[in-house]
């Protein structure tokens, strides 16, 4: 595995203006070998623009991008030799077969053998359809062929722009497994962009969040999960007499309400377990038939993400 302390991809102070609109503001982040780095942001946040700049499709106004030590504008061919990717949709030459398409990319790279081509075809599980024309491929197959194309030359940096778009759940899982295998077992630095937190949660080791062309922060998955912990916890109490149950609950700073025959209470996260034990006990003592008490997860990762990006739109900035 590559030396982990050295960033494989280092982006500093990237600025980009298209027309009159500034698309990217001072984007900086680093990604390392052996990790799956999620690039997360709502539509129009600047994910694809950033990716296009990294792979050299777009020029940059300001900033530097180093890939494995080579600056992309100063040493384009050397920098790109370590990059593989899919940008936007996996478009291929429809009148060529899958194999012929791969051969096209093989010829643009150095030292790619026939065996290597067969190997990646096996990796993406396209062996039985590789000699069909692309016009007969489904979107999922094209996406997998795109991955095959991107990893053909064993890149140190693999960049996939919204790779799960249009894939069915089985396809998404398959792709996830491939990417995790490449990062964790083969030491590739994998960068995946998405606007779905749930997808990132299952795939990524670290996530960089971007909104309105600004990098809001880079978090490990654990950090994000801990963000879901809140000051309040919510419990749903299902009992035969909700009115009586509501009256019985005696806790000074608790939010209490009845909704559709269910008592909902929110209590401080501190001593929550102790308090809910007391409430349970009081309800039973008071003669209410208590059926269930359920803890409700108040905040999901998706909410964290929405909150993070929404804060920024209000000008709030970083989470504390």
């Amino acid at each position: 595995m590559e030396n982990n302390s050295q960033a494989l991809l280092r982006i500093s102070n990237l600025n980009k203006t298209i027309g009159k609109r500034q698309i990217l503001h001072d984007i900086s982040f680093e990604a390392y070998s052996g990790e799956v780095f999620g690039f997360l942001g709502p539509n129009g946040a600047g994910k694809t623009t950033t990716i296009k700049i990294i792979v050299g499709l777009l020029g940059l106004d300001e900033g530097e991008i180093y890939i494995d030590g080579s600056e992309i504008n100063k040493n384009f061919e050397k920098a790109m030799a370590n990059v593989g990717g899919i940008v936007e949709n996996p478009e291929m030459y429809k009148y060529l077969t899958g194999k012929q398409n791969l051969m096209q990319y093989a010829r643009m790279r150095d030292n790619i053998t026939e065996e290597r081509i067969n190997e990646v075809v096996e990796t993406v599980k396209l062996a039985n359809r590789i000699n069909d024309k692309i016009s007969k491929y489904s979107l999922g197959m094209r996406q997998r062929l795109g991955v095959a194309q991107a990893i053909l030359h064993r890149p140190k940096l693999l960049i996939l722009d919204e790779p799960t778009n249009g894939l069915d759940p089985a396809g998404i899982k398959e792709l996830r497994d491939i990417l995790k295998h490449l990062a964790h077992d083969e030491g590739v630095c994998v960068i995946v962009s998405s606007h779905l937190m749930s997808e990132m949660e299952l795939m990524c080791d670290r996530v960089g969040i971007i909104a309105n062309g600004k990098m809001l922060g880079v978090y490990t998955m654990e950090e994000l999960v801990s963000q879901t912990a809140d000051e309040k916890r919510e419990y749903h109490i299902h009992a035969d007499d909700p009115e009586k149950a509501l009256r019985t609950i005696d806790l000074p700073d608790a939010d209490k309400s009845i909704d559709d025959g269910i008592v909902k209470i929110k209590i401080g996260a501190e001593n929550a377990d102790e308090n809910i034990y007391r409430i349970n006990k009081e309800l039973i003592v008071s003669g209410v038939k208590l059926y269930t008490v359920t803890a409700v997860e108040t905040k999901k990762l998706e909410d964290v993400f929405i909150q993070l990006t929404a804060d920024d739109q209000e000008g709030g900035g970083q989470i504390g």
Partner: protein, 447 residues
């Protein structure tokens, strides 16, 4: 360099795997075969006219009709002509060869007795050498060409008749007869100058001496028949230079698609994220477009060889190409002559393909680039001519005013003092602008 050819290899695969490209090649082959077919049909038609009966009973009837006409109109010299037709009727069978022609050519000024003497000589003498010998004596010294002809025929044992040499001998004789005319006036009645006539004479003599039944010479117009009126495979092949603009049309389509289709298919992103500089990709595309054009031309050429031979016969296969400067004849390869004609005609298609390529790279629209280039290919020369007629002198700097290098080299430019060097300079300048435009559009634009 190896990497560049790998890129070209990619472009070739992309180009040739497309159905449209394959159809284009079929079209080129069909055009070559079709043109040969037209040559064959034209030849058959000519031969049908040529084989019309002549000197047969029908011929006899026509002679009698001529006699009736002469007797009725009584134009000066009619007695002589009636006598001639009577001889023709009497010696009908012999009249089929040179004798009839010789009789027709007798001058009207001869007195009746003298005229009859000649007719006796022409029709009653069996040995043609005696006829010519006597004619030679009787011919006036001022008729240098005719005298030379008789002497030449006797010396070289060439009996007048329907052989290919007759044409050449009479060409030389005609030129020599009017030589004095050339000396007085620089131009003959056909507008050719004295030197051109001398060159023509030299070529005719060269062919006679070297026994060349078929030979190719440069002629201004492309036609299925050569100078002697023969249908030869070479004439069919040189006529096929007219098909070069068809190849131009096809190559404009390929050029217009080469860059634009990568954008419309979305494959440009996959092409450009590879560790290859963009200008190398662009150059590999340009190289591919032009080389595919020349492959089409080569196919046209190669298909035309057997096709034209099968259509009009391989008789002239070994004919050389003769050119003459200052009376010195040089023998060259006819294969090269035809190839040169195709290549000269290909200059305009290279320019138009480059234009299509540049527009395609700049605007990323294949339809637009094909449309513009085809328009200029078809209308460019016309526009240039129109501007030339309107005395708009700046139009000499347009590429369309300079594309016909052949006529500029021959000294027939559209604008005054438009030299070959000037034309080539204008073409190179335009090409440079087109290539830089393509370059800028492809290398600098953001994807």
């Amino acid at each position: 360099m190896a990497k560049f050819f790998r890129l070209v290899h990619n472009e070739y695969i992309k180009t040739f795997k497309k159905l449209s490209t394959r159809i284009m090649f079929v079209l080129v082959v069909l055009a070559a075969v079709g043109l040969s077919g037209i040559a064959a049909l034209t030849k058959t038609e000519y031969e049908r006219w040529d084989s019309m009966p002549y000197g047969s009973p029908e011929g006899e009837d026509s002679y009698r009709a001529e006699i009736d006409w002469e007797e009725n109109t009584k134009t000066p010299g009619w007695e002589n002509r009636v006598k001639m037709y009577e001889y023709l009727i009497e010696y009908g069978e012999n009249a089929e060869d040179f004798r009839a022609d010789m009789a027709y050519e007798l001058p009207d000024s001869l007195g009746t007795d003298e005229y009859e003497e000649y007719l006796d000589l022409i029709f009653k003498e069996k040995d043609w050498k005696n006829i010519l010998g006597t004619m030679l004596e009787k011919t006036d010294d001022s008729q240098k060409g005719t005298k030379w002809e008789y002497q030449y025929r006797i010396d070289n044992d060439i009996c007048p008749g329907n052989t290919w040499k007759d044409e050449l001998i009479s060409t030389v004789a005609d030129i020599r007869n009017s030589e004095d005319l050339f000396d007085e006036n620089l131009f003959d009645e056909n507008g050719g100058d004295r030197q051109a006539a001398k060159n023509e004479e030299a070529i005719a003599l060269y062919r006679l001496e070297n026994d060349l039944e078929y030979a190719n010479v440069d002629s201004a117009e492309l036609s299925f028949t050569d100078e002697s009126g023969n249908f030869t495979m070479w004439q069919a092949m040189i006529t096929a230079a007219n098909l070069v603009p068809l190849v131009g049309l096809l190559i404009i389509v390929i050029a217009g698609n080469s860059v634009a289709s990568e954008f419309s298919q979305g494959t440009i992103k996959f092409l450009l994220i590879n560790p290859v500089k963009r200008w190398k990709i662009l150059m590999s595309k340009y190289f591919t477009v032009l080389s595919v054009g020349y492959i089409m031309l080569a196919i046209l050429y190669v298909v035309m060889i057997p096709a034209s031979g099968i259509a009009v016969g391989f008789d002239a296969f070994s004919a050389p190409f003769l050119s003459c400067t200052n009376g010195v004849v040089t023998e060259g390869s006819s294969f090269l002559w035809v190839a040169k004609a195709y290549l000269l005609n290909s200059i305009s298609i290279v320019i138009m393909a480059t234009l299509a390529f540049a527009v395609s790279s700049l605007l990323r629209s294949s339809a637009f680039s094909i449309g513009i280039s085809v328009f200029f290919m078809l209308a460019g020369t016309g526009i240039a001519e129109l501007l030339a007629n309107l005395k708009m002198d700046w139009a000499r700097y347009l590429v369309f005013s300079n594309m016909n290098l052949t006529s500029i080299a021959e000294g027939n430019p559209m604008f005054a003092h438009q030299t070959l060097g000037f034309a080539i300079g204008v073409i190179i300048a335009h090409m440079a602008v087109f290539i830089l435009t393509a370059w800028d559009g492809f290398v600098r634009r953001e994807v």
